[in-house]
């Protein structure tokens, strides 16, 4: 029984990480329908952003959130405007372009850091708290708290604000939204910005946990896609709960089946979801039907 509780906690905390990365991707993939290969790199940039703030300003990562997140919003806006927007009608080229971004970001950072691994210490991060019999590090709890707060905040934003509503409208039916007078392009830009900012948030909060390396984005991005699909496109609750589910599945599968096959297992689940219920748990039925042609 002890074990189960332990696995549960581990699973939830890992799920929190996945959810945090996925919540931004969910917006981007769910709303704009871009397979953003570079999302992991946006997280990575967030991490290195935290490092930069630490090294130049001496800021604790939990404080540098305030700087990095808006900066990442700007990065997102620029990337979308310059690269993704012109390619709106050519979805396969968009994928190609995000892949180019992936390679570009990764290798710029690699070249600048010359492959040295960095770490970003934080006063709070190393502390542990006892949850029952289990010791949990504060850094992971912070992430769990952050993803929960972010999910709630995003949900409220989408429901209550005008911009949020236009984002939801565009997710459901791009053409209808346009006919209603919504500036679809501007909505996309803002969405991509928010998605990037959330990726940056994830990066900053993850910085105290992982050793920074340019390729670290890859660890998260595929899991994030699985979460987005599992949870349902454009659904904040989906990204949140989807993340937790994936985390739990990974933890339990790792323990009961084989730790080596952890990754394969949630991919298989992801595939099963795609085949059986492509809408995901919380998504809009038919959302997945929109393919390349209609995307243009």
């Amino acid at each position: 029984m002890d074990n189960v509780l332990h696995i549960l906690v581990v699973g939830l905390l890992v799920g929190g990480i996945y959810g945090l990365v996925a919540i931004g991707l969910n917006l981007i993939f769910g709303v704009i329908r871009i397979v953003n290969f570079a999302h992991g790199e946006l997280v990575m940039l967030g991490m290195y952003g935290a490092y930069l703030c630490y090294v130049t300003l001496g800021l604790d990562p939990y404080l540098s959130v305030l700087l990095v997140v808006p900066a990442m919003f700007v990065v997102g806006v620029v990337v979308h405007r310059l690269i993704l927007q012109p390619l709106h009608a050519e979805s396969s080229m968009q994928i190609f372009a995000t892949f180019g971004l992936l390679i570009l970001f990764q290798n710029v950072v690699l070249a600048l850091t010359r492959g040295e691994g960095y770490s970003v210490p934080s006063k709070l991060a190393g502390l542990t708290i006892a949850v029952g019999d289990i010791r949990v590090t504060v850094s992971r709890l912070v992430i769990f708290a952050a993803v929960t707060l972010a999910a709630i905040a995003l949900h409220l934003f989408l429901q209550r604000t005008l911009i949020g509503k236009s984002i939801r409208a565009v997710t459901q039916d791009r053409q209808a939204a346009q006919l209603m007078g919504i500036n679809v392009e501007r909505t996309f830009v803002i969405t991509f910005g928010i998605g990037s900012a959330l990726a940056g948030l994830a990066g900053v909060l993850l910085a105290p946990i992982y050793t920074l390396a340019p390729g670290i984005g890859g660890n998260f991005v595929l899991a994030a896609f699985a979460v987005v699909v599992l949870g349902g496109l454009g659904s904040v609750a989906g990204a949140y709960f989807g993340g937790l589910i994936v985390g739990l599945v990974e933890a339990f599968a790792g323990f009961y089946i084989d730790p080596e096959l952890k990754q394969a297992i949630w991919f298989l689940i992801f595939l099963a979801v795609l085949v059986i219920r492509p809408t995901g748990l919380f998504g809009q039925v038919g959302a997945e039907e929109i393919g390349f042609r209609e995307q243009g």
Partner: protein, 344 residues
């Protein structure tokens, strides 16, 4: 009644090379293949370039194979690395365990993928666009995990090594140019297959399915059957290339075979740059990207880690932005313009 101008030259972006006679097709193919072979002749004994050409021929063939289901079929797959890997592992294992000559040994992998490909893709076919892409991506990742895990079959993370013992039967040569010729033969095979395909009923049906599934059905086309057959063809050709790859590099491991930037996504990259959905596109893309990449790596590799890839990344971005329909598309654009002026 005007008959279409069959004596006009060929539109490079036309999927079927137009309805010109088979003799003309054969002629064009012969000319094209000679052009492709020319750099090899020119390279002589410069093994640096011979190596680059070997990879170029191989990946051109792989991109052509990928293009069957992705370009002509409209199913943008990022999971072809799985077929590539199956071909590589099967060929290597058959040689290592049973001394089966790779000339034959590449076939079982290809045949297996002709079955596995449709089996694995079929449930995901109804997913459109991006969803299909990431589903196939997931396949690639699952394949990677299993390749690492099933070390009795695949040699696990360390992979398999095929020792160097020169011999025609073992498809192992001391002269690198022989490998280049093998890969060239692979490319030629892939091109012939695609040309025959796109000038057959299945080819037209494939295009119809890509353009509009409902209209295709109303024309009596079984969409599922068409996708199965096209996938079988695409997957088996890819596996064939994988087998040849294994014999060239003689060290295969999951990291190499399932690598997205080097394999799975590369097929897509080459076709997109060259012009997806055309016969010549993937070949043009391969001849542009692979030498360029190698050149960057050779000249800038010393400048620091990742520098040459920065250029590759930049190039990809610029290509995506400015060559939307790929090189073949750009040529087609000029072609249409020229035709238009001619008619005036």
């Amino acid at each position: 009644m005007l008959k279409p101008d069959q004596t006009a030259a060929v539109d490079p972006a036309d999927p079927a090379l137009g309805l010109i006679s088979w003799q003309r097709v054969a002629l064009l193919l012969a000319v094209g293949l000679t052009a492709v072979l020319l750099p090899l002749a020119l390279a002589g004994k410069d093994y640096f370039w011979v190596n680059i050409l070997t990879y170029t021929y191989l990946f051109a063939g792989l991109a052509v194979a990928w293009n069957i289901i992705a370009g002509f079929g409209g199913q943008f797959s990022l999971g072809h690395g799985v077929f590539f890997a199956i071909g590589a592992y099967t060929t290597a294992r058959l040689l290592l365990d049973w001394q089966i000559s790779p000339w034959i040994g590449v076939l079982p992998g290809a045949i297996a993928c002709a079955v596995i490909g449709p089996l694995v893709f079929l449930p995901t076919f109804r997913l459109k666009g991006s969803f299909f892409a990431i589903a196939t991506l997931a396949f690639n990742e699952v394949g990677f995990v299993f390749a690492n895990y099933l070390d009795s079959v695949t040699g696990g993370p360390r992979g398999l090594q095929v020792p160097f013992r020169a011999g025609l039967i073992r498809m192992t040569f001391s002269d690198p140019r022989a490998y280049a010729l093998v890969m060239f033969a692979y490319l030629a095979t892939a091109l012939v297959v695609v040309i025959v395909l796109m000038r057959s009923r299945l080819g037209y049906y494939l295009l119809a399915v890509r353009e509009d599934e409902d209209a295709a059905r109303a024309a009596g086309i079984s969409v599922r059957r068409v996708k199965i057959r096209a996938t079988a063809l695409s997957a088996s050709l890819t596996a064939l290339g994988g087998g040849l790859f294994a014999m060239y590099v003689r060290t295969i491991d999951p990291l190499t075979l399932f690598s997205l930037p080097d394999v799975g996504v590369k097929f897509a990259l080459l076709s997109l740059i060259g012009g997806i959905g055309t016969i010549t596109g993937p070949v043009l893309g391969a001849f542009l990207i692979i030498p360029l990449e190698s050149y960057f790596r050779a000249t800038l590799g010393g400048a620091g880690p990742g520098v040459h890839l920065i250029l590759v990344g930049l190039f990809m971005l610029l290509a995506a932005l400015f060559m939307r329909r790929g090189v073949a598309g750009a040529i087609d654009h000029l072609w249409q313009y020229w035709q238009h002026r001619r008619r005036r």
